[in-house]
């Protein structure tokens, strides 16, 4: 019952919010917050409860639709609800003066609802239905801003339709074979399916998940969509929505097929997992270096979203305890820090009047210290500096890769991390450090309501970094659910038997070292603050123009790597699209406009029919 309540509140709340917006803006905002808060509360209530409930019967397909809750779905559901709540909170200020707010809140809540629906659905049909609702409602919000966002939205929706149709094919095929769509029933049937059929199911279904998760050859929709969407929604997009792909992969690979079957799927050297690994590795490296040459704050983050997906893939593909845990944990971590970073980018956009080009910014640390700290912590999480959450998951993934004898995958992952260091620093440097441009001398810190989500997420990044045991417990429940070996964990990391990681030691080491250095620093002779003009120009006249070295920050490097970063996939799709258009244009020329030809078509068709029938 509680699941149905959740769904009803989620979907109904969206509609009610929309209607409330017609009455007053304030009421709408309050309702939106309340709805998302209620979802968070309700979902936390079903922690560790396994529920399965039929809620609907489709007469003509003779199907019962089921809602269920288990550790896997709970894990994703709480992420969705949490980020949903924070993004709504953030929107309150961010979206204040924008137009079509009713539409905005409605769609945002609706997307959250449909995402919740996908994770708590217990059969493939409702999974698919919610998935599709999610796809199109996302489109509505990606394109919301107009301008460049329109093309981005179209790109997204077409790719996601392709993906979901592939999934539809799989689902219907399963249904026609086994006469049911219940996940657990299909899972038991699949144990006896032939290898070929299993491969068909796996490959076709993963197409849609690869698209939504934006893995390398199918990533092209993501950078545009994320960069062009409004910032609170970008954070939802890249924190949660994109990661539905991981959920789907996990569902099909481990819940439906299971390890036994997966291990059988290989032809000599090449197996399904190795292909996925390759995709993941290429995604990581390619995305990291592409992000390096971007100059748009949100585009950098978007590319980093692409890249981080690769880590999760590398993690979950290897069905070892640490790999799986690392992958799932990385989903959570990435969701936290990328949402944080998009909030940061949004706050800067908000205060500077929509500036996204990081080269035009600089020195904002003096004006927006809270945002700066959030950005710093977020980027540290993204890189995986110890004491942030990203570190633990990456550590687990690396460990899996190295000990599983996949050094080249590990190498790709490492290189990706170094790319991340470079663009992460660039992000901070160009926006927050250095010279404060004249026109931003008077901007203020982000409003309190925007700070609140950022602070919460910042705290979470550190909290999960120091006490990774909390989320790892939830994740090991997922492992148990699909009969994979769970990873042993302690509150501060991994015990010695499973590979020893102890964050509390690291924390104390760093704190004490900092303290000692600080003491040293304090004892030394004092220093006086000076203006930039004084030190750089030695007090003489400097022109008031910009002399903050930002444009093309890694110039020598980008000169070397840009030739290799041509987005071949994107060009390829573009050509396909153009080709299709051309073919379509040729095809409609059959309707020549001359009635004589039309009459001829009719006669020819008749002749053809008679001819055909004579031979059958």
């Amino acid at each position: 019952m509680i699941l149905i309540t959740i769904l009803l509140i989620a979907f109904g709340g969206a509609f009610v919010t929309y209607l409330a917006g017609k009455i007053s803006g304030k009421l709408r905002n309050i309702l939106a917050v309340l709805v998302s808060l209620a979802l968070v509360v309700l979902i936390s209530l079903i922690y560790r409860r396994e529920i399965s409930r039929e809620y609907y019967t489709l007469p003509f397909l003779n199907l019962k639709l089921i809602l269920m809750s288990n550790p896997l779905s709970w894990f994703f559901a709480i992420i969705i609800a949490g980020i949903g709540l924070l993004s709504i909170l953030y929107s309150l200020e961010y979206m204040k003066d924008k137009e079509r707010l009713d539409y905005y809140y409605f769609t945002l809540l609706f997307i959250n609802a449909s995402m919740l629906g996908t994770v708590i659905s217990g059969d493939l049909l409702s999974f698919f239905i919610f998935w599709e609702i999610m796809s199109w409602s996302t489109y509505l919000l990606i394109s919301y801003k107009g301008g460049k966002a329109i093309a981005a939205g179209l790109k997204y929706i077409i790719m996601s339709i392709i993906g979901s149709l592939a999934m539809l094919l799989v689902i219907i095929s399963l249904y026609s074979r086994y006469g049911t769509m219940e996940i657990s029933a299909i899972a038991s049937y699949m144990q006896t399916a032939s290898i070929g059929y299993t491969l068909f199911i796996l490959i076709t279904s993963s197409l849609s998940f690869v698209i939504i998760n934006a893995f390398w050859p199918l990533h092209t929709w993501l950078p545009d969509a994320h960069a062009e969407a409004v910032s609170p929604f970008s954070s939802v997009l890249s924190a949660v929505l994109v990661r539905k792909g991981i959920y789907g992969l996990y569902l099909f690979m481990y819940v439906i097929l299971g390890l036994n079957i997966l291990n059988k799927l290989h032809v000599g050297f090449i197996s399904f997992s190795s292909v996925l690994c390759g995709i993941g590795a290429v995604t990581i490296v390619f995305a990291a270096f592409t992000a390096l040459v971007q100059e748009d704050s949100k585009r950098i983050l978007a590319w980093s979203t692409v890249g981080q997906g690769g880590y999760m893939l590398l993690g979950i593909v290897f069905a070892t305890a640490s790999g799986m845990t690392g992958g799932m944990f990385h989903v959570l971590n990435h969701c936290i820090y990328i949402a944080l970073l998009f909030f940061v980018a949004g706050a800067i956009e908000h205060r500077t009047g929509g500036i996204r080009n990081i080269n035009e910014l600089g020195g904002l640390i003096k004006r927006m210290p809270v945002t700066f700290i959030a950005a710093l912590v977020g980027i540290s999480g993204l890189i995986g500096i110890p004491l942030t959450n990203g570190f633990v998951s990456k550590w687990l993934i690396y460990k899996t890769l190295i000990l599983g004898n996949h050094p080249f995958l590990a190498f790709a992952a490492f290189v990706g991390t170094w790319g991340t260091v470079l663009y992460g620093y660039k992000f901070i440097h160009n926006i927050f450090l250095g010279q404060l441009p004249e026109k931003y001398k008077h901007i203020k810190e982000a409003p309190l309501l925007m700070q609140l989500p950022m602070i919460l997420l910042t705290v979470t990044v550190i909290l999960f970094g120091v006490l990774p045991g909390i989320p790892l417990r939830v994740i090991s429940a997922i492992q148990r659910q699909v009969a994979l070996p769970p990873l042993q964990t302690t509150l501060f990391g991994i015990p010695k038997e499973a590979g020893e990681l102890n964050m509390i030691n690291v924390l104390f080491a760093i704190l004490i070292s900092c303290f000692i250095v600080w003491l040293l620093f304090r004892r030394a002779a004092k220093s006086v603050p000076v203006q930039q003009d004084d030190s750089y120009a030695a007090g003489s006249y400097v022109p008031k123009e910009k002399y903050h070295y930002t444009v093309n920050f890694y110039n020598p490097l980008s000169k070397m790597i840009t030739p290799y970063l041509r987005d071949v996939a994107s060009l390829f799709y573009l050509n396909i699209a153009r080709g299709t258009q051309r073919v379509c244009n040729i095809i409609r020329r059959v309707y020549v406009g001359e009635v004589g030809y039309y009459a001829m078509y009719i006669v020819l068709f008749l002749a053809f029919l008679i001819f055909i029938q004579m031979f059958f």
Binding site: I150, L154, L165, A166
Partner: protein, 502 residues
């Protein structure tokens, strides 16, 4: 006194009432259609139990006289016709203002009479006559605007249509020559009883498919459709797309399933359907300018899908086909109606003129979007349910060719998505080119809403609500569709019901 005869008699009678009333003529079609609607709804429970057979002309038992068969299939389609007809006629009250309006209403009712007759009759020649009523009135209605495009398309439509009807007539003559009867049940009985394999029979089938195919818009025969749909008044486009071509499809299904139970031929029907689907959808993608033409091509594609589903030749296939037929009728008439006033307001059929309409006509844009989503097959709209049933039927049939076809259907869906989302983005996300509407904030006047009149708005909102309702609660219609599908499959039962009156 609930007789299916009234379903035909009332629109026919009212249609000739219309020219007498001049001023009040525009209220005649809604009244007639409302009556039909209520009547067919009332007939539903009765028909679900047992089909009603009405004998016309002398009361001789079949096969000797013309009879009407109110089977679930017939009533389903009659219900659909009267529903769409009713809503479109309400829309027309405000929309049709110029020209000889009373003639419009007369012809309109005649068209619906024809359509209702086609789906209810049990006599092949009678079917032809109703078909001609439908065709002639639609030729005239296409030309109703009297502009050059309307006339051109009407003439072209007429030429192709009359060739098609001649072919139907030849088919009827051939059948009559073989069996000496015109009653469909009797013909079917004869064909299956004698299990005839004569080439004449095949030729007759070819003639029927070609003839009905012209009205039913299967691929090479549908050249009239984009022209006629795009240049007719939007109400007529809606009716043509929602009703007229559906009757053609119905006739094809009736002929192939009931008359000739041509099982081996069905895969061929499916192929034709797939080709129609592909050509229609791809042409729609290619058509970037004229929105009505794009919608017309999309109709071709959808008809292809329906025919494909009929061609699967299983119960599930027929069910999917009928379901899709209903949904497409609702959605496409919705789209044409919604675009009607949009075109009227922006004064152009160009797709680019629709930019930013979402602000000026919020409700119409919303319902347009709902219709488009339903046609693409996105949940939770009606189109999704029917599409999924067609696809599952195709896969369940366990036939490699059909599996390939299903993949093509999915591919066509992608194309559908491309062009419909192109419209949706124009409606909502592009800024209006008209500079007066461009500035949103301070200084300039706020965007003016120019929503369509309420009498036009109501029908399309009802259509949209129906689409959503069917999408969320498909049981609303699936019951009757199921029994209709069973009825169409059950040839022996059909023959028995009609000839069993002896």
């Amino acid at each position: 006194m609930l007789s299916p005869v009234l379903l035909i008699a009332i629109p026919l009678g009212f249609s000739f009432l219309a020219p007498l009333l001049k001023k009040g003529a525009k209220y005649i079609p809604p009244i007639a259609m409302l009556f039909n609607l209520i009547l067919s709804i009332l007939l539903v429970p009765q028909v679900m139990r047992k089909p009603i057979i009405v004998l016309l002309g002398g009361g001789w038992p079949p096969p000797f006289c013309i009879n009407l068969v109110a089977s679930p299939l017939g009533i389903l389609l009659a219900l659909l016709i009267s529903l769409v007809g009713f809503l479109v006629s309400i829309y027309a009250i405000a929309y049709i203002k110029e020209g000889a309006t009373e003639k419009y209403h007369t012809l309109y009712l005649l068209l619906l009479t024809g359509a209702t007759g086609i789906v209810l009759t049990g006599d092949i020649f009678n079917l032809f006559v109703f078909f001609e009523i439908l065709c002639i009135s639609s030729y005239a209605l296409v030309a109703y605007n009297g502009d050059k495009h309307g006339l051109e398309s009407a003439v072209k439509y007429l030429i192709q249509g009359s060739i098609g009807s001649s072919f139907i007539l030849i088919g009827i003559a051939l059948l009559y020559g073989l069996f000496g009867t015109l009653n469909m049940a009797d013909i079917a009985n004869n064909i299956s009883y004698h299990s005839l394999q004569s080439p004449t029979l095949y030729v007759a089938l070819a003639f029927f498919i070609t003839g009905f195919g012209v009205e039913g818009a299967i691929f090479p025969l549908n050249a009239w459709l984009p022209d006629a749909h795009s240049s007719a008044p939007s109400t007529i486009s809606a009716i043509l797309s929602g009703i007229a071509i559906k009757t053609g499809v119905y006739a094809i299904a009736r002929v192939t399933y009931t008359l000739f139970s041509a099982k081996g031929f069905m895969i061929f029907i499916a192929t034709i359907g797939i080709i129609t689907l592909l050509i229609g959808e791809m042409s729609a993608l290619g058509q970037k300018k004229d929105i009505k033409r794009m919608l017309a091509y999309s109709s071709i594609g959808q008809i292809g899908l329906i025919i494909f589903a009929f061609g699967i030749a299983t119960y599930y296939g027929i069910f999917g086909a009928l379901f899709q037929l209903v949904n497409h009728a609702l959605a496409k008439s919705l789209l044409f109606l919604a675009s009607g006033y949009m075109i009227y307001r922006v004064g152009s059929k160009e797709l680019s003129a629709f930019e930013g309409l979402g602000k000026k006509m919020p409700l119409s844009s919303l319902v347009f979007t709902i219709g488009a989503f339903s046609l693409i097959g996105l949940p939770p709209f009606a189109g999704f349910m029917s599409k999924i049933s067609i696809i599952s039927a195709g896969i369940k049939a366990n036939n490699t060719a059909l599996f390939v076809f299903v993949i093509i259907v999915l591919f066509a869906t992608i194309i559908e998505g491309c062009y419909f989302f192109r419209v949706v983005q124009n409606l909502y996300f592009k800024k209006s080119r008209d500079p007066a509407h461009n500035c949103v904030r301070d200084g300039c006047p706020t965007t003016q809403k120019s929503e369509m009149p309420i009498s036009a708005l109501i029908p399309i909102i009802i259509l949209a609500l129906l689409i959503v309702a069917i999408g969320i609660y498909p049981r609303l219609v699936t019951g009757i569709i199921e029994s209709a599908a069973i009825g169409l499959m059950d040839k022996v039962g059909y023959i028995h019901q009609i000839l069993g009156i002896f």
